[in-house]
């Protein structure tokens, strides 16, 4: 896919087999400090996951009666999973589909716009480019949370609140993604290549799709992953935009389940909240594992200049 940026495979295989004596760039000196820090980092990031996996095997009774970091006597993972999917007429499935809808349209759209915009900004000269650069950089610095309330008020006037559009439209804008694509396109697409394509008679659309797009693939995957994670985990925006539980994404739905424990006569379902959370992160983990190789090459691209 991206032969111009990935390292030749022949070399990358060798460090594994080289003797451990010499410190080559491929095999740097081992540092106890760094290894220690790394180990701490691994514990820090993996511990909540382990907790989640362990506790999703417990019943509500088991949760209260056992240590959080070890299994209870009962093993109820399969029960929990099936109850999660069937509870309250299978509302979890609806929330899952909603989340998928928001991700496909929101994150997918955001990526598409970022790719188009980034390419244009990197490869075309037009007046006002510096201004746009300033705006994009400024927009990267503004957290989405700060814009949520003004967006709500605006959408409320437009009558868009409480519809899926209220979540999808704001998700379409990803200043960071745009900036990333801009930098990436500037590095990954040699201007000479575009000129050659034009010389050969390709129009701009064809140049973009057949010449530029393949070169941009690693960057696209990176932006897609970023926006997917952001949309998948989006909580605050849907929280203020959506009233109808039928349009909730998983994040809001799980929070609603969690708050059942706070109500009189409410059905306390911490076990389903935990199992639901586990099920919620699985697709994200899968996306990362599946797209990892593209992503790594995307991150490395541009770090070595020919």
């Amino acid at each position: 896919m991206s032969t111009s940026v990935t390292a030749p495979p022949a070399k990358s295989a060798s460090p594994l087999r080289t003797p451990r004596k010499k410190h080559t760039p491929g095999k740097p000196k081992r540092s106890l400090l760094l290894t220690g820090l790394m180990a701490l980092m691994v514990v820090y990031t993996v511990a909540p996951l382990i907790w989640l996996v362990i506790n999703s095997t417990k019943t509500q009774a088991g949760l209260g009666a056992s240590n959080g970091l070890w299994f209870a006597h009962d093993f109820a993972l399969w029960d929990n999973i099936s109850t999660t999917f069937t509870y309250h007429d299978g509302i979890f499935v609806r929330w899952l589909l909603n989340t998928l809808l928001y991700v496909v349209l929101g994150a997918g759209g955001a990526t598409l716009l970022a790719v188009l915009g980034g390419y244009a900004l990197a490869k075309f000269d037009f007046p006002g480019k510096r201004g746009i650069f300033a705006v994009v950089i400024g927009a990267v610095a503004v957290p989405g949370t700060a814009l949520a309330v003004p967006t709500f008020l605006m959408f409320s006037k437009m009558g868009l609140t409480d519809t899926p559009w209220a979540v999808i439209i704001p998700s379409l804008v990803s200043p960071f993604g745009l900036y990333l694509m801009w930098v990436f396109a500037a590095e990954a697409i040699p201007t000479e290549l575009l000129e050659a394509a034009r010389m050969d008679g390709a129009n701009e659309v064809r140049t973009f799709f057949q010449v530029a797009l393949p070169l941009l693939a690693p960057g696209i995957v990176t932006v897609l992953l970023f926006t997917t994670v952001a949309t998948w985990n989006n909580y605050f925006l849907p929280l203020i935009m959506l009233k109808d539980p039928n349009w909730y994404p998983l994040t809001l739905g799980l929070s609603a389940w969690n708050s059942q424990a706070e109500t009189i006569g409410g059905d306390v379902i911490f076990n389903l909240v935990i199992t639901g959370s586990l099920l919620t992160i699985i697709p994200l983990i899968a996306a990362f594992l599946f797209l990892q190789k593209y992503w790594q090459s995307g991150l490395a691209a541009g770090s070595v200049k020919e």
Partner: protein, 445 residues
């Protein structure tokens, strides 16, 4: 009752309410239309059919809605139950302010009713015949939903208080179950001495609990007459509460755990929280939230402030209301009446709800119901007696939601610093007075 989930949420609620407030000014003035709606009108509406949207988290309403639709096949009940507490009120207030998306029926807890009725957010149900139902309900809940000859909702459930205690823990340390709050303090000391991990109760500052305790102690801090409001925590009843509770706090006899959290459910399950003074609706939460401690807990009468005295109080409980902007008020009332006064009550009681209706409370079958969770105890007898002993002259503020939201910034300090409860209550009073004045209430001093 409920802890405020997050301050940000409140901010958002406020911002959006303020911003949308402008549009609400043109809202309906339906209050003037007091012409009676006859039973025949309601019957006709039911026969004609239509859709109603019900915003309520009460779990037993699911069956009630299904039964209602079976009985009136042309009526479709759209029950939205995913939101509760603060999120529910935020959504409801926003919808009312925006004048759009207002449900036909909304669950509103007793403490929050004043806020909606005073701002004309709710339909007066008296013209629909609700005023004739007064004698069906116990005094506390009816007093909460009615204001003079106006009726702003029908009581759905009630929370006459009782003392739930972990018998296993009390038996283990051979401690008698307290019948007065002084004995309660003694028991707290003994328990904590016997096992430093065991606390008599959890309390990290809870507005709903504190107001209920004041209620039982005979304190009447809030006086409400339309927009004239009096707030005063300096009375004999409040003194009684402060004296005992200050000792519990000073001697660190209360587990610093907030109610309704996972820690709380865990503490109720593992014996580290030995008692819980709470509303009679608590068994349902025990059953689903603390299934592991089945058989260990029992109910007892709420300890008295003076030996032999029988005063009780309500804690929590909610009503079904019909917002002023509801589209289909006849159907909405019909559903409310069915669920909270008609056939729905029996259904809800059989699913574990605690009624506010005298007929159910006095029913021998109800009273002799054996609670498996309490090892066969006929706990409803205790709850029903408590309900009969609730003093009915309590009122909440018309802005109790706000007042409760600042509880932790004022009284809450007594739990974590050198501030005394009395000072905390004074600070709460001052802050509430200030807010009330800003909102245009006449505060009597």
């Amino acid at each position: 009752m409920r802890r405020t989930t997050s301050r940000i949420l409140r901010g958002i609620a406020l911002v959006s309410t303020l911003a949308l407030g402008a549009t609400a000014c043109g809202g309906s003035d339906d209050d003037s239309d007091t012409k009676a709606v006859s039973a025949a009108d309601i019957k006709a509406a039911l026969d004609k059919g239509g859709d109603i949207t019900v915003w309520a988290w009460e779990p037993t309403l699911k069956t009630v809605a299904a039964d209602f639709q079976k009985k009136y096949p042309k009526v479709k009940v759209n029950l939205v139950s995913e939101r509760s507490g603060d999120k529910h009120y935020t959504a409801l207030s926003n919808a009312i302010s925006a004048g759009k998306g207002v449900p036909d029926v909304a669950q509103v807890e007793y403490f929050a009713l004043g806020q909606y009725s005073l701002t004309k957010g709710l339909t007066d149900l008296a013209p629909y015949g609700a005023d004739k139902l007064a004698s069906k309900y116990t005094a506390g809940p009816w007093n909460a939903v009615s204001d003079g000859d106006k009726v702003y909702g029908l009581p759905m459930d009630s929370g006459p208080m009782a003392l739930f205690y972990n018998k296993k823990v009390f038996d283990k340390y051979k401690i008698a179950v307290p019948t007065t709050w002084d004995e309660y303090l003694d028991a707290a000391r003994k328990l904590h001495k016997a096992d430093p991990k065991v606390y008599i109760a959890n309390d990290a500052g809870d507005a709903g609990f504190t107001t209920s305790m004041l209620w039982q102690a005979g304190s009447r801090p809030y006086k409400v007459d339309g927009t004239k409001v009096g707030i005063n925590f300096d009375d004999a009843g409040a003194k009684k509460f402060e004296t005992v509770w200050q000792k519990l706090i000073d001697e660190k006899l209360l587990a610093p755990i907030n109610g309704w959290t996972d820690d709380w459910y865990k503490g109720l399950g593992d014996g580290s929280i030995a008692t819980l003074a709470s509303g009679a609706w608590m068994p349902a939460n025990f059953e689903t939230g603390v299934p592991g401690a089945k058989g260990q807990w029992r109910a007892a009468a709420l300890p008295a402030w003076t030996k032999g005295e029988k005063a009780s109080a309500e804690n929590g409980g909610s009503s079904l209301t019909v917002p002023a902007l509801a589209k289909n008020k006849e159907l909405a009332y019909a559903f409310t009446e069915y669920a909270n006064s008609g056939a729905g009550v029996a259904t809800r009681v059989s699913e574990g709800a605690f009624p506010a209706t005298k007929a159910q409370l006095e029913d021998p079958a109800f009273q002799s119901k054996k609670f498996d969770y309490f090892d066969g105890q006929e706990a409803n007898k205790i709850f029903a007696e408590s309900a009969a002993n609730v003093a009915s002259d309590w009122s909440y503020l018309p802005f109790q939601q706000y007042a409760n939201s600042i509880f932790n910034d004022t009284v809450g300090k007594a739990y974590v610093s050198n501030t005394t409860l009395a000072d905390g209550l004074k600070a709460w009073q001052d802050a509430s007075v200030k807010y009330g004045e800003e909102q245009g209430f006449t505060i009597e001093k």
